[in-house]
Symmetry: C2
Subunit: 176 residues, 2 copies
């Protein structure tokens, strides 16, 4: 096990700022490209990050702390952002992500004492018993997964343009 | 083909700043973890970015513009940074990456007129004829590849900690 609360928060507090520097001001070509039908563009990934901040991590954490395994987690629809045709700019979305993430880190620090709460368990609808430590670790790795997705989606746009170099570019040689 | 010089530069100028916001101040646990023997940690990826700025993209571009296919590209050792045990901090490395990248973008703009030079060809030691457009596209996708590598390497650190959620986290279910 490598989990450490302070180190987990180091990542959680950096993700929105990093993505803000990466995506703000980019052309629509980069923000709206995807990997084909049914896949997300970078803008949709940011919308998903915001939904998860609002409806996934903290509500689940609160359920564990208040209910233990007595009550399964509140549902989280991983596709909900696709149904809300949002008119806000990418800069506004990134600002919202930054704000809700900062609020959630404050909430996390208030809710969880790592010396006391990490091994408490709740009931995941598919997995059964899951621990606070596993939930917070997943929050961190979920950031990594979707940052990797954003650059993979953008790389896809230049698949043909790179010519023979495609062979050396790992990101063009996998999906996931 | 999707390549556009202005859009390519949008990415090239954002990568160092985004990584600076992501990696500066992180604990050594995050900066020094890797995916096992022979793999790179996040710090080594930044060192590789710096080497490529110094010895790969612009020297190759200059070779195409000056020599065409008459002279193969100068060699680039993708592992050179592993032989120089650097004592600089991650913040110093990120600052150096930012500086050399900014200089190279200035150089790129001075060297390449997209209306004139994109289809010029040089001689790659393994691939044979390659175009300026392909080289610059590869520079961009090389950024994406190594940004994806950094988050994948960091995610690996929590492989066990996420517990059953591993199944939902694409980044833990592939290599590349």
């Amino acid at each position: 096990m490598n989990f450490d609360m302070k180190e987990a928060i180091e990542v959680l507090e950096r993700t929105p700022q990093s993505l803000e520097h990466f995506l703000s001001g980019l052309s629509d070509g980069w923000l709206q490209c995807n990997e084909g039908e049914g896949t997300w563009n970078a803008t949709e990934v940011i919308e998903h990050f915001i939904e998860a901040e609002k409806h996934n991590w903290i509500p689940r954490l609160e359920t564990i702390l208040q209910e233990g395994e007595n009550k399964p987690f509140p549902p989280f629809d991983r596709f909900s952002h696709l149904n809300q045709k949002s008119e806000t700019t990418i800069e506004e979305k990134l600002q919202e992500f930054k704000t809700v993430r900062a609020e959630n880190i404050t909430r996390l620090k208030a809710l969880v004492d790592p010396a006391v709460h990490l091994e408490l368990t709740g009931s995941h609808p598919a997995f059964g018993a899951v621990k606070v430590r596993e939930l917070i670790s997943t929050w961190v790795v979920h950031d990594f997964t979707h940052m990797a997705q954003i650059v993979r989606v953008m790389a896809e746009r230049y698949r043909v343009d790179v010519g023979p170099w495609k062979e050396y570019l790992g990101i063009l040689n996998k999906k996931g």
